[in-house]
Amino acid sequence: MPEMTPAELRARLATALPAALVEAEPLAITPPPAHGPQPGLFNPPDPLVRPDYLVSAALWVRDTLGYAYLSDIAVVDYLYAGCFELVYRFYHPTGGSSVVLRVRVPRDEPVVPSLTPHWPAANFHEREAFDLFGVEFTGHPFLRRIYMWDEFEGFPMRKDFPRQGDKYLGGESEG
C-alpha cells in the first residue's frame, strides 16, 4: 500500500511540475473581528495548485504516482477570504490513504479547467459544483445544472445565498 504525506507529495510535485505549485496563504473562515487577531485561520498542509495547471497535476497524480481512483471533489466557500477552494481527493487502487490537491479561485470569477475530458470520474462532481456553487469548468462537455432546474437563479450552497425569503420561497413571510 503506497503512503504519501502531503509534504512528500509537495516535494514530488515541485520537481515534476514546478510551475504548478503556489504558496498557500492561511484562509480566514470566520468574519474578521473588530479588534485583535483574526481567529479561525485554516491552513491545510496539502499542495495548492494553480488553476491552469490543475489538469496536468491531476493527470500526473494518476499516471505517474498511480493514484487512479478519483474519489471526491469538494468545494468550500470561504466567504471571508473571498475564494472557493476545490479539494480533489485521489486514492491508489491497491489501497492506502488519500493524496489531496487543492485549488483556489476567486469568488467573483470562479473558473477552473475541467478534468472530465481526461478523467470521466470528475463529471458529476463538477456538475454538482457548478450547480450549487457556480464554479465554471471550462471544457466540460455537458456543464448543466444537476440538482436544481435549469431556470433556477443563484447558487444555493454559497454562503451568501439567502437562507430564507428568496423569490422561490415567496416573500418575507417565509421562515
Binding site: 470566520t30 487512479a68 481512483y69 471526491d72 478523467w119 470520474a121 458529476f124 432546474w149
Partner: protein
C-alpha cells in the same frame, strides 16, 4: 427505402423500476439504446446546506435519511468524520458494536438489492418478498438496539447511544443459523432460472479500466474485477482484526454484480461471527464517557469514508471552531456510481436499462441529497 429516425424516450420520473424519482432521457434507434442522459434532482432538498445550519449532533439523525436502507452505515461514516475532526477516541466495545451493525446493514441491503433487481427483470413481487424476508429479522434486531427499524440514529460521537440489550445476542445467533440457507436460496433464485440468466449474463458490461476511470466504488467496481474495498484498502474501526475475502467478478456484467453481492453477504456473516467471538473480551463500554456530544471541533477539516453497502461513502467536514459544521459534504456512492450509466446502457435494448440500473443499486435519497 424505409425512413427511420432516432426517437427520444423518457423513462421516469414516475416509473416502478427507477427506484424513486429518477428520469432517464433515452435516445433509441428501434429497440437499441443510442444514448442516455440521467436527470436527477426530483428529491433534492439541499441536504448539505440544511446540515450546515444544524449542530453536529443534530445532523446524526439527518444522515439516516440519505440512504434510508442503510442508516447505520451513514451514521458510521458521519460519526467517524466528526471524531476525526474533534479528536474523539472510541472504545473497543463500541467499535465492535458498530461493525456488527454495519455488517448487518450490508446483508439487509444486498438481500433487498438482489430482490429489487429480480423484480426489475419482471419477476413481479415474489422474489422481492424473498429478499425482504430476512431483512425483517435484521430490522427487528435494529429495533431492539436502537428503538427504530429504519431511521436508527444509533451512533454517537465516541460510540453508540446504548449498549446491546440482553436479548440481542441470542436473537442474532438464531438469525446467523438461518442465514446460510437463506443466502443459498436467494442465489438459486437467479442461478437456476434460465430466463433471469439470459437477462443478466453479458448485459451492462463495465470493463475494469473503464470502471476505475469513472470512479465507481462498491459492488459495481468489484463486479468489474477490481478488488477495491475500503475495509481492506484503508482499514478503519476494527476491520483489520477480521478475516474475510473481497469477492470480485470476472467480466463486469449484471450477473457478476449480483454474484458479488451474494458473496458479500456470506463474508459479512463471517465478520459478524468473528465479532461475536471477540466482543466479550473487548475493552471499554458502548461509548467514550468523556466524549461531549455537543462538540466544538477546532478549526480544520476531516474526511472519513467507509465501505457502505453501496460503495465508498465519505463525509468531508470543515470546522470553523463553532458548534456547526462550516462545510458538510457527502460523497454519495449511489450518485457517483451513476456516472457510467450511459456507457453501460449504450448498445443494449431498452428493456435492459432497468436491469442495469437495478444492478447498480441506487437510492434516490442519497443520489439527490
Amino acid at each position: 427505402m424505409l425512413q427511420t429516425q432516432e426517437l427520444q424516450v423518457n423513462i421516469g420520473p414516475q416509473h416502478p423500476s427507477t427506484h424513486g424519482v429518477f428520469r432517464m432521457l433515452v435516445t433509441v434507434d428501434g429497440e437499441t439504446v443510442v444514448d442516455l442522459k440521467p436527470v436527477f434532482g426530483y428529491l433534492h432538498r439541499n441536504h448539505e446546506q440544511i446540515a450546515e445550519a444544524n449542530s453536529y449532533l443534530q445532523n446524526m439523525p439527518y444522515t439516516d435519511r440519505l440512504d434510508y436502507f442503510n442508516s447505520m452505515a451513514n451514521n458510521h461514516a458521519y460519526a467517524m468524520a466528526v471524531e476525526r475532526l474533534a479528536g474523539i477516541e472510541v472504545p473497543e466495545r463500541a467499535e465492535y458494536i458498530r461493525v456488527l451493525m454495519v455488517e448487518l446493514t450490508r446483508i439487509l441491503n444486498h438481500a433487498s438489492a438482489v430482490g429489487f433487481m429480480i423484480n426489475d427483470m419482471g419477476a413481479w413481487q415474489t422474489p422481492l418478498a424473498f429478499g425482504m424476508r430476512e431483512r425483517e429479522k435484521i430490522l427487528d434486531l435494529f429495533e431492539m438496539a436502537s428503538g427504530a427499524r429504519l431511521m436508527c440514529n444509533y451512533f454517537r460521537f465516541g460510540g453508540v447511544v446504548r449498549d446491546l440489550p440482553p436479548e440481542f445476542i441470542p436473537n442474532l445467533r438464531e438469525l446467523l443459523r438461518a442465514l446460510p440457507a437463506y443466502i443459498d436460496e436467494l442465489e438459486r433464485l437467479l442461478r437456476d432460472n434460465e430466463i433471469l440468466l439470459q437477462r443478466a449474463i453479458g448485459i451492462g458490461i463495465l470493463p475494469p479500466e473503464v470502471a476505475l476511470s469513472y470512479g465507481v466504488s462498491g459492488p459495481v467496481l468489484r463486479g468489474s474485477g477490481i478488488p477495491y474495498d475500503v475495509r481492506k484498502a484503508e482499514p478503519y474501526s476494527v476491520y483489520d482484526r477480521f478475516d474475510f475475502d473481497v469477492p470480485i467478478g470476472k467480466v463486469g456484467d449484471v450477473y457478476d454484480r449480483f454474484l458479488v453481492r451474494i458473496e458479500e453477504m456470506r463474508q459479512s456473516k463471517r465478520i459478524i461471527e468473528q465479532v461475536l467471538e471477540q466482543l466479550p473480551d473487548a475493552k471499554g463500554g458502548h461509548i467514550n464517557p468523556k466524549a461531549r456530544q455537543n462538540v466544538r471541533p477546532p478549526v480544520g477539516d476531516a474526511y472519513a469514508r467507509i465501505e457502505s453497502p453501496k460503495g465508498e461513502l465519505g463525509f468531508y467536514l470543515v470546522s470553523d471552531g463553532s458548534t456547526k459544521p462550516y462545510r458538510y459534504k457527502v460523497r454519495a456512492p449511489s450518485f457517483i456510481n451513476l456516472t457510467p450509466l450511459a456507457d453501460m446502457c449504450r448498445g443494449y435494448k431498452v428493456a435492459d436499462i432497468v436491469v442495469i440500473l437495478g444492478s447498480i443499486d441506487i437510492v434516490m435519497g442519497e443520489v439527490d441529497r
